[in-house]
């Protein structure tokens, strides 16, 4: 009797374990297929990052970041510390950034090298949104720029595109977003802020605004975009500079 019971128990728990393991395997495969696994999913903190990214992607694909009224604009906005600009940047700055170039590369039909005037030729989009730093502080400002989606569409996005990697003129600073954020109407190549040109202290002449994520995803001094199907070839393959410095790639928190 005990033998029978223990055998039955063995079979049931064996079946349950198999079902659990295969269920998890199926979930992981489905998550991979629907782009719910972030590039920095490894390590002990990986499960937390993966759950957050997957949950946010299922819930927030098309939602719009909160917008504010003009009276809520922070005055003055807080200019976070930036590294002293290099000689190359200073030379460009003396000429009023007329030689600034934004290169559009990777999985696009027509790679391009755009001047600031080329970027400004697209219909302008304006937003009054909040930028929140991972440290805890935040401010509201008005940004004007070209939606990233317009620049990408003009270059012809190839169907296998999954991420857009964007680079600052500061070598150590680069980030990437998935296509949900890259094609999002509020993701802006911002060139103006609070009624004037985007100041250098806030990332001028060109900053990518990603208002549904924390401030460190809004990289300053953008000069290169690369459309890609894989983040493996970039840096250590973790998606951006943030995970290499110990921070999460996805920062919608």
């Amino acid at each position: 009797m005990t033998k029978l019971l223990s055998r039955r128990k063995l079979i049931t728990s064996g079946l349950a374990a198999t079902a659990g393991a295969s269920g998890l395997a199926v979930a992981v495969r489905l998550a991979g297929r629907y782009g719910l696994i972030p590039p920095d999913h490894g390590g002990i903190y990986g499960p937390g990052e993966t759950l957050t990214y997957a949950a946010h992607r299922l819930l927030t694909r098309h939602s719009l970041a909160r917008e504010f009224s003009r009276s809520q604009i922070s005055n003055p906005p807080f200019a976070n510390e930036i590294a002293p600009p290099g000689d190359h940047f200073k030379r460009l700055q003396t000429d009023g950034f007329k030689d600034w170039r934004l290169s559009v590369e990777g999985l696009v039909a027509q790679p391009a090298s755009l001047s600031l005037d080329d970027v400004k030729r697209f219909p302008a989009s304006r937003q009054i949104t909040e930028i929140a730093c991972e440290e805890g502080w935040s401010y509201v400002a008005e940004w004007v720029g070209t939606p990233l989606v317009d620049v990408l569409r003009a270059a012809g996005i190839m169907p296998q595109a999954r991420y857009v990697v964007y680079f600052s003129i500061e070598k150590a600073w680069w980030e990437s977003v998935d296509m949900a954020d890259a094609l999002h109407p509020q993701t802006l190549l911002a060139y103006a802020m609070n009624g004037g040109d985007l100041p250098v202290a806030f990332g001028g002449p060109l900053r990518l605004r990603v208002p549904r994520q924390l401030g460190y995803k809004s990289v300053k001094f953008i000069n290169r975009l690369a459309v890609t199907d894989s983040l493996k070839p970039f840096g250590k393959g973790l998606g951006s500079a943030a995970p290499e410095g110990g921070y999460a790639w996805y920062a919608g928190i």
Partner: protein, 242 residues
């Protein structure tokens, strides 16, 4: 007895002591998982706070803008709190999923109704003052209280389970620009993101206060027996002096 025998260090000596069931398996497992995740959240929360130990009220706030409180802490962890953020969100997932399991089971098994909801007869000033005066005089609980919770405990646990924890999770979500893009009301009810952050901090302080009092009361009631009963599920009556 079977479970305590499996833990020799915690075995109850002698058979004269009556051994009564105290906590269900779900309550015990979720209690310790929650303890672990709460410690993770606390440590990482401090690490995150140390990168900007100022609190604001309203939508925005930054250095140079008026603050509500400048905590007397150094700004020491700028650009090195990545581990804290990772640990905070991982622990938060554990806490939330574990909490859902606990709440679901608590409703299904009627644990909340039977063990946490105070009896109407206990909701009188007389009953309150009795319990409070026993606490003030640091009296050990009697045998009856080893089996069940007194009215003060019941109300405290209900406030923690259905008040403080939901509020700390809610204010945490209210700081997420992606989550509030779906449900702006999560943050607007608090009057802005910085208010949510400030409330998150104070609710965490209340939870920490609860933790201190909780541990203090356990020491007073008999640390060994209380911890053992939360591990094995059984309590030894008459062993409150342990």
């Amino acid at each position: 007895m079977a479970e305590s025998a499996a833990l020799p260090g915690l075995a109850i000596p002698g058979s004269s002591i009556s051994d009564v069931p105290r906590h269900s398996a779900v309550v015990r497992v979720t209690h310790w998982v929650m303890t672990l995740s709460f410690v993770g959240l606390l440590v990482s929360g401090v690490a995150i706070l140390l990168s900007h130990p100022r609190l604001y009220w309203g939508e925005t706030g930054a250095a140079g803008a008026p603050s509500l409180i400048d905590l007397p802490l150094p700004f020491v962890l700028a650009n090195q709190n990545g581990w804290g953020r990772h640990l905070h969100f991982l622990s938060a997932w554990v806490l939330v999923l574990n909490g859902l399991l606990y709440a679901l089971s608590g409703f299904l098994t009627q644990h909340f109704r039977k063990n946490l909801l105070p009896a109407k007869s206990d909701l009188t000033w007389r009953s309150f003052s009795q319990v409070i005066s026993r606490h003030v005089r640091l009296q050990r609980p009697d045998a009856e209280e080893a089996r069940t919770y007194n009215v003060l405990q019941r109300i405290t646990y209900l406030v923690v389970v259905f008040g403080l924890f939901p509020l700390v999770i809610w204010t945490g979500l209210a700081m997420s620009p992606a989550i509030t893009s779906v449900a702006p009301v999560l943050v607007t009810v608090f009057g802005g993101q910085q208010s949510a952050r400030t409330i998150h901090f104070f609710v965490s302080c209340f939870l920490l206060l609860f933790l201190f009092v909780h541990i203090g009361m356990i020491c007073l009631a008999g640390f060994g027996n209380r911890v053992r009963s939360m591990i094995t599920g059984h309590t030894a009556l008459g062993k409150e002096e342990a």
